[in-house]
């Protein structure tokens, strides 16, 4: 089940990652990218990891570094990082995915669903999210839905 929150007010400051771009740039190194992370990079940004030592990637826009991945992709990679390294930020219980487009959200939800990850997702927009796949969603710890068309 994916736990969604329509506001960050459900969490204390030290319980939520708000700026995913900064979090990624400061915490996630190319060397620490797992197989899951590399797969997400390919699926969301169509980015191929060329050199894991220096973080060089090839994207449809050219060759660049992992710091230039989209914020949506970085958000998912942050989630994977948190799950694979729970000791680093033990207080974090949620991640703000408001900067994710629907393509990144779908991948994020798939990952959480597949791995049963215990993390809340704060989503403050309704930007075509109804196109995300049907699955069990728990909204604001109160309402269960399967289709995000009915998220209010």
């Amino acid at each position: 089940m994916v736990r969604l929150y329509t506001s960050g007010k459900y969490f204390k400051d030290n319980e939520i990652i708000i700026d995913n771009d900064s979090f990624f740039n400061n915490n996630v190194s190319a060397k620490s990218l797992s197989e899951n992370s590399i797969k997400v990079m390919e699926e969301v940004d169509h980015a191929k990891l060329l050199d894991q030592n220096i973080g060089k990637i090839e994207t449809p826009y050219g060759i660049t570094g992992i710091q230039d991945l989209s914020t949506g992709c970085k958000t998912i990679l942050n989630c994977i990082f948190l799950q694979e390294n729970p000791e680093v930020y033990p207080t974090v219980r949620a991640i703000n995915a408001t900067e994710c487009g629907k393509n990144a959200l779908e991948q994020l939800f798939c990952y959480i669903d597949k791995t049963n990850m215990d993390i809340g997702i704060v989503l403050e927009h309704e930007d075509e999210i109804y196109e995300c796949g049907n699955r069990e969603y728990l909204i604001n710890d109160s309402e269960k839905i399967t289709d995000l068309l009915f998220m209010v």
């Binding site: 994207t59 050219g62 230039d68 991945l69 949506g72 629907k102 927009h125 930007d127």
Partner: protein, 152 residues
Amino acid sequence: MRQCYDWQSNVLKFTDVNGNKYNLKFRGNKTIVHGDSATGKSLLCTMLKSYINDNNNASFKPYNADNIFIVSKDNKDKLSLQKGKLIIIDRAELILDDQMVEIINADRGDNRYLIFLRKPMGIELSPNYFGTLCKKDGELQLEYECYVRGWA
């Protein structure tokens, strides 16, 4: 030296170092861009920033970006001082505050705005000015979602 942004035609057009072509034709003074992750929103900003930062480097000046102001957390206090600029706000969910929204809403044409934003923040804009970035004819273009006569 060519301008990236032509105020007269209201077009942002340039080619970046990787050969990616950008050709964004704006309808009015304010445009909000949303849509999928990894469509090139932040990339566009990164490339323009490099032209602005390279303005003092005499050896490499492919474009003039003097009439573009890219808002970040560090310079957002200078928003109210701009005149005759295309103001670009990437990741606006994290940057915009009430005061900035007020400045943008009160601006009747001194500046123009390109805002990458998914979350409703109170910017007064008709749906005619909401769009997404897409690749068409080898160029990254702006695709408006609708045009309804009567909506200003």
